[in-house]
Symmetry: C2
Subunit: 511 residues, 2 copies
C-alpha cells in the first residue's frame, strides 16, 4: 500500500494530505482504509486545534461548572453541593484530555491504517506536489535529519486541511499586550482575577462562562453586535446574555474596543490563584469607558492557515480561505495536466475543514473528510451513486456549550427568509414539558422549528436550555431526512423526556 | 358546544371518555378543540396514575441521585459533592410535582377547552351509554348530590381510558403483608432500611435504585427472568445489573418467590428514618433462601382496570385488556345500530392507553388519544388522508431512567428476527466518543442499531448509558421517517456530543 520512491524523485502516494487535525485525520484514515496509499503532513500535533486548544479542552473546562449548576437546580441534591469547583482538578482533567499536549495517543490511529505521517511544514509545490520543510516540525521524525526538505507527489489528490488560527483585529495596542487567544485560554494553568473577552460568539461566550465558574471574579464580554451569538436566533443570545448577567458576567453588546494598553490601575494584587506577573490590561471602549483586567481574551473570529502553504504555486491566493465547490474541490487551481495522469486534471486539489471557510466546526470538517476520501477512492453507495455533499452550508448543526446551551441546525428564521423560503417558525419554552420539570427547578430555554410551508419539511431548528445538546440530532435527522411534518407527527417522544418539546412544537404548528 | 339534557333522558355529548389520565385528558381536550362536546369521567384525580403515582414522582425521586452521580464523575466537580441526598427535600419536591396529590392544577386544562368533567365511577351501560356512580368519586362535584347516578349518552363515540392497576401475583402470604405497589413506593415519606423489590422491569429497577440512593441500606431485586429488563437488548439488563451490584443493590435473577410472611428477625430497630411500625417481611425464594426486609415492593406487571367498567353490557369480557384494531376501536363490541345514528355502528367504542394493553407508556396513550380525537372529529391531514396509527406495536419508544439509562425504540434484534425481518445489528460503546469523555470519567453503555438489510432502514435502536434519554428521539425520527441509511450518513452529529455514536454506528455498519 505505501509507496515510497527514494533517491532524486519525490516520494509518491495516491493521496497527500496537509494537516492532521480532525478533517485531515479522517480523510487520511478513510482513504487508507479504502486501499489508497496516503501521506499526511503535520507541523504540530496529530489531532489539531480541536484536540489540544479547541473543543476538547474548552468543553472539559466547562463541564464541572455545568454539572454543579445542574445539581444545584435539583431539590434534594442542591444541599449536597458546595458549589466550589476544584480548579486544579479541572485543569488536571483538561491536561489528561489533551494527552498532556502530546499526540502520542493520536498517532497510532493513523499508523494502524497504514498512513505515512510526515512531520514538518507542508507547502504546495505545483500541481500534485507537496514539499515538506522538516526543520519546521514541532516534533521531528525519528530518522529524518532536521532541516531537510521531503518532496512528496500525489497520484490522485492533494487535500488541504490546515485549519485556521485566531484572528487578531487591528486594534491599537492589542498585539503589544500579548492577549490570550483560544490556545492561551484553554491552556491556562491559573485563573485570572479579572478577564475581558473580546467577542460574544461561541468561543467567547463559552470561555467567559468557563472562567467565571472556575473562579474569575470579574468577567466582561465585549461584542460589537447588538447581542451575543449574533448568528443564532435572537432569543438564543438574549437568553445566554440574561443568564450571564445573573451569574455576574458583564455583557457589553453593541460596543467596540478602540485601544488596549498595559497600565497600572493601582489595584491590590490578586489572590495567589491569579498571581499577577504583568501589569493589568486597560481596554478603552468606543464610548470612552475604560475596563481594567488581568488578561484579555481575543475571540473575534478565525483566519485560514493558508499564508505559507504554497497556494501561489497552483494559482491560488495565500492568506485567504480556499474556495471549494460542492465536491470540496478547490476552485481555480492550476490543472494537473501533464502530471501523473491518474488524477482528474481539474480536480486534484481538495480543501476540507476550517481552511475552506464553509463551516468552522470539527464535525463538518470530519464530514468533508469522509466525503473526499470516498470521492478520491471512487466509492459508490448501495445504489451506485457517487458521494455528494448533502450537509452543505444550509445544513450545519452546531452547539454552544454555555449554560443555557444553544443547539441549532439548518437555517434560522431570518436566514430562511433571506433565502426566499416560504417559512413559518413556531416556538415553545423548552422548560414547558414535564421532562424539564423532573430535571430541576429554574430551567430556561426555547425550542423552535422553522418549517418550509410549501414542502412541509423542516429547514431549521434551535433548542436552547440546560443539557439540550443531544436533542439536536433529532432535528438534524428530520431535516437531512426531509421527513414530512405529517410523518414527524407519528414520531412519539418518550415521557418524560425533554424531547417532548417536539410534541408541543407540532401542536403549536397546528398538527 | 356543550350539550346537556336535564330531566329523564341522559346528558348527551358527542364524546364520552372514561378516565382522565394522560390518554383520556388528551383525547378529551383535543376532541373539544376540534369543536366536539365532550364529557370525561374520572373517579380519582385528573392526570391519572402517571401524574401522581407513576412517572412523575418516580423520575422526580430518581433525579437527585442521578445528578449527584453525574457530578461525582467529573474531576473538578466531584470534590464539591458530599454525595448526601437531602431526602426530606427530595420528598418535598415529589409532593410539589404531584400537586400535593390534588388535581386542582390539572382540571383547568380540560375546563378551558370546554370539556365537562364528571366525577365518579363510569361504567358502560350498553352501546353509546355511560352511567356514572358519583358516590364512588374521590372528590364529588360541587352541586352533585353524592350517591346519584348520572346517565351520559354519546352521539359519536365512547373512549375507554381507565388504565391499569398494579398486578399482585398469587404468592402465598403476599397479600397479607400489605406489600408496597407503585403507589405506596412513589408516595413514601420514609426510607425503609431494607427493601425487597419483586420484579426487575422498568418500575422495579427504577425504584430499587431510587431508594438505594435515597438511603435504603439493603436493596434486593428479585426477577424470574435471567436478567433485568428482560424485554430489552440483553446488554441493557446486564449493564444495569452490573451497575446495581457496584452500588450495593443485590440482584437475584432467575429466581422466584414462593412465600412471604411478616415475622420477627430479632434485628435491632432501624434508624429514625425508617421507623418500623410493622414486623419485618420475610421472603422465601424457590431455592430455599430467606430474605428479610422492612418493606416489599411488588412491581411484576399491571392489570387492566376493566373489572368494573360495564364491559359485559357491550359484549366484552371484564377484567381483560380491551382489544383494539389499528384505529384503536374495541374489537367485538356490540354495534350501536339503533343508537343516535351519528356514530359508526361498529365503531363507537375506542380504548386508548394502558387499558388496551398495547403499550403501557404515558406517551403512547397520549399518542393514541390524539389519533382517536382526530378520527372522531373527522380530521384529515394536509394531503386529505384519514389519521392512521403509524407508531404501532413495533415502534414504541421507551426509556428506563436508571443509571445507566436504557433508551430504546422499535424492535430489539431478537424481536426483529422473530418477526422474520432480514436484520443486522451493529453496536458501539456509548462512552467511546469524545462527547462522552468530556462529560466525565467512568461512563458506561452501549449504542446499537438494528438495520433492515433489504429496505436499508432502521427498525430498532437502543442506547444505554448516562443521560442518553434525549438521544432516543433521533432514532425514533429515523425509524418513523424511514430515513434510508445512505441519507442518515449525511446527518452529521455535532462535536463533541454523545450523538456522535451515530457516526461510529454507521461506520461500523460499513458506511
Amino acid at each position: 500500500m505505501s509507496a515510497v520512491a527514494n533517491g532524486p524523485g519525490p516520494e509518491v502516494f495516491d493521496v497527500v494530505v496537509i494537516g492532521a487535525g480532525p478533517a485531515g485525520e479522517v480523510v487520511a484514515g478513510r482513504a487508507a482504509e479504502a486501499g489508497l496509499s496516503v501521506a499526511v503532513v503535520e507541523r504540530e500535533r496529530v489531532g489539531g486545534e480541536c484536540s489540544y486548544w479547541g473543543c476538547i479542552p474548552s468543553k472539559t473546562l466547562l463541564r464541572p461548572g455545568d454539572v454543579i449548576a445542574a445539581a444545584r437546580r435539583v431539590p434534594g441534591a442542591a444541599s449536597a453541593v458546595t458549589g466550589e469547583i476544584d480548579t486544579p482538578a479541572a485543569f488536571a482533567r483538561r491536561d489528561e484530555m489533551v494527552g498532556g499536549y502530546s499526540d502520542e495517543g493520536a498517532v497510532p490511529w493513523l499508523l494502524d491504517r497504514g498512513v505515512t505521517l510526515v512531520r514538518g511544514r507542508g507547502r504546495l509545490a505545483g500541481p500534485l506536489r507537496v514539499d515538506v520543510d522538516t526543520a519546521d516540525a514541532i516534533q521531528p521524525d525519528a530518522g529524518t535529519p532536521a532541516g531537510t526538505t521531503r518532496r512528496l507527489a500525489a497520484r490522485k489528490a492533494v487535500v488541504l486541511a490546515t485549519g485556521t488560527k485566531a484572528f487578531m483585529p487591528p486594534i491599537p495596542g492589542l498585539a503589544d499586550v500579548e492577549p490570550w487567544d483560544n490556545r492561551s485560554a484553554t491552556g491556562a494553568t491559573l485563573v485570572p482575577r479579572r478577564l475581558v473577552v473580546l467577542g460574544g460568539g461561541a468561543v467567547g461566550t463559552e470561555l467567559a462562562q468557563g472562567f467565571r465558574r472556575l473562579g474569575t471574579a470579574e468577567v466582561t464580554i465585549i461584542e460589537g453586535q447588538p447581542r451575543l451569538l449574533a448568528r443564532e436566533e435572537p432569543f438564543a443570545g438574549d437568553e445566554v446574555g440574561a443568564a450571564f448577567e445573573a451569574e455576574g458576567i458583564a455583557v457589553r453588546t453593541g460596543c467596540r474596543v478602540t485601544a488596549v494598553r498595559r497600565g497600572d490601575d493601582g489595584a491590590a494584587p490578586g489572590p495567589a490563584s491569579s498571581e499577577r506577573r504583568r501589569p493589568p490590561v486597560v481596554v478603552t471602549l468606543d464610548n470612552g469607558d475604560e475596563l481594567t483586567a488581568d488578561e484579555i481574551l481575543v475571540a473575534v473570529g478565525r483566519r485560514p492557515a493558508t499564508e505559507d502553504l504554497g497556494l501561489e504555486t497552483v494559482g491560488l491566493t495565500p492568506g485567504r480561505p480556499v474556495t471549494v465547490d460542492s465536491s470540496l474541490r478547490a476552485v481555480g487551481a492550476t490543472p494537473a495536466t501533464g502530471g501523473s495522469g491518474e488524477a482528474d486534471g481539474d480536480g486534484w486539489l481538495y480543501a476540507i475543514g476550517d481552511v475552506n471557510g464553509r463551516a468552522l466546526l470539527t464535525h463538518m470538517g470530519k464530514y468533508q473528510g469522509r466525503l473526499v476520501a470516498d470521492l478520491v477512492a471512487g466509492r459508490r453507495d448501495a445504489a451506485g451513486a457517487v458521494p455528494v455533499e448533502v450537509a452543505g452550508e444550509r445544513l450545519i448543526p452546531r452547539v454552544t456549550f454555555t449554560d443555557p446551551q444553544v443547539a441549532a441546525v439548518g437555517l434560522t428564521e431570518q436566514a430562511a427568509r433571506e433565502a426566499g423560503l416560504p417559512v413559518r417558525a413556531v416556538s415553545v419554552p423548552t422548560s414547558g414539558v414535564a421532562g424539564s420539570s423532573v430535571r430541576g427547578v429554574g430551567l430556561v430555554g426555547t425550542s423552535q422549528l422553522v418549517v418550509d410551508e410549501e414542502r412541509r419539511v423542516l429547514v431549521g431548528a434551535t433548542f436552547t436550555g440546560q443539557d439540550v445538546q443531544e436533542l439536536l440530532h433529532s432535528a438534524t435527522i428530520a431535516i437531512v431526512g426531509e421527513v414530512p411534518l405529517e410523518r414527524l407527527w407519528h414520531a412519539v417522544p418518550s415521557f418524560p423526556t425533554v424531547s417532548e418539546v417536539w410534541l408541543r412544537l407540532l401542536e403549536t404548528y397546528g398538527l
